[in-house]
Symmetry: C2
Subunit: 197 residues, 2 copies
């Protein structure tokens, strides 16, 4: 066929640039410079910047899937513990970036969903997939009698996912983990309470 592609390299470094600067503000030249490739390489691998945006979204969410597998689907933990493990793991990753960059999915939701119908649709699909492991966890918790009656697991899952995005938003503004900690505190003492007995 042909020689080894630098596409992966562009995606990896480009994702990083977009996380730092935002999708609109990150120029094609910023991306290729970070990847150490000439400008033309971008055109070769991506039909447009929008197409590139779709690919980094997929790449980012693939990583989220791994995180979900390691936490929400952990085999030997009770459901609510798995939930807590997920939020803790994300918090640790956000800490690595000094509470600066937040979540690519959330960032592009507010920045790019309006500009591009393709990106908006992809984001919607991502959120739909994202909800499932949460809903499963919550359903299991209720089944085991560890979660009081209340909203349906699907509703609760979407609520947690959305609210978590809101907490990350606040974290970005305050550059401080307090909003994340407040989230887990309120959620695990107020929202996900055990049934009365």
């Amino acid at each position: 066929m042909a020689r080894p592609s630098k596409k992966e390299h562009i995606l990896r470094e480009g994702l990083e640039v977009v996380r730092r600067k935002g999708f609109t503000a990150a120029g094609v030249r910023d991306i290729t410079a970070a990847a150490g490739v000439p400008q033309g390489s971008f055109t070769n691998h991506f039909t447009s910047k929008e197409a590139f945006g779709l690919e980094i979204l997929d790449r980012y969410f693939a990583d989220v899937r791994d995180l979900i597998a390691a936490t929400l689907r952990a085999p030997d933990l009770p459901p609510l513990r798995r939930l807590a493990a997920y939020f803790d793991a994300v918090t640790a990753r956000l800490a690595e970036r000094g509470w600066h960059h937040g979540c690519l999915v959330g960032n592009m939701s507010l920045e790019s969903a309006e500009h591009s119908e393709a990106i908006r649709a992809r984001l919607a699909a991502i959120f739909a997939e994202w909800r499932e492991p949460f809903a499963e966890c919550l359903a299991q918790a209720r089944e085991r009698g560890e979660l009081a009656d209340g909203a349906a697991p699907d509703d609760l899952a979407d609520f947690l996912l959305s609210s978590w995005q809101g907490a990350i938003l606040r974290m970005k503004v305050e550059r401080d983990p307090a909003p994340l900690e407040r989230f887990t505190r309120v959620v695990f003492t107020g929202v996900l309470r055990p049934p009365p007995r």
Copy 2:
């Protein structure tokens, strides 16, 4: 002084353009064109685009203050009713825009907080002020025995505010009010429950 300034006009129309396109993507020429003024007028009234951004933030939040006064501080409603009135009023405004544009504060939090320290600081101040009427409402509800013990009013207020931003984010992606409705459903049945008796 001098002849009537077009600054207000630029701010009003510019705010609209920024809400539609995002702060980065909205060019100075877009703004002046929407206001029907020549380009130079922008330079005359704003030392930079960043300064303009700070002013539209203030302008936007002044409107939020009015909404708060009309709902969260309504004299003749019980506290939790006032909370619901606030979320309903915001939902009505988002509906006017076809669930497209979300909240300027949230948008700039994810898009511009990283680019400009001045904007980040202003956003933090806005959120701090925003929390107060919520915290008051919640404290009153607890005082009147209409809200179960749990998280401190300050924590709960920030949690609600953040989570509401998250719900708006999801609304923007799905272009549908379902996330907003889910928010109020979960919050008013699960988070803000009455004390046991």
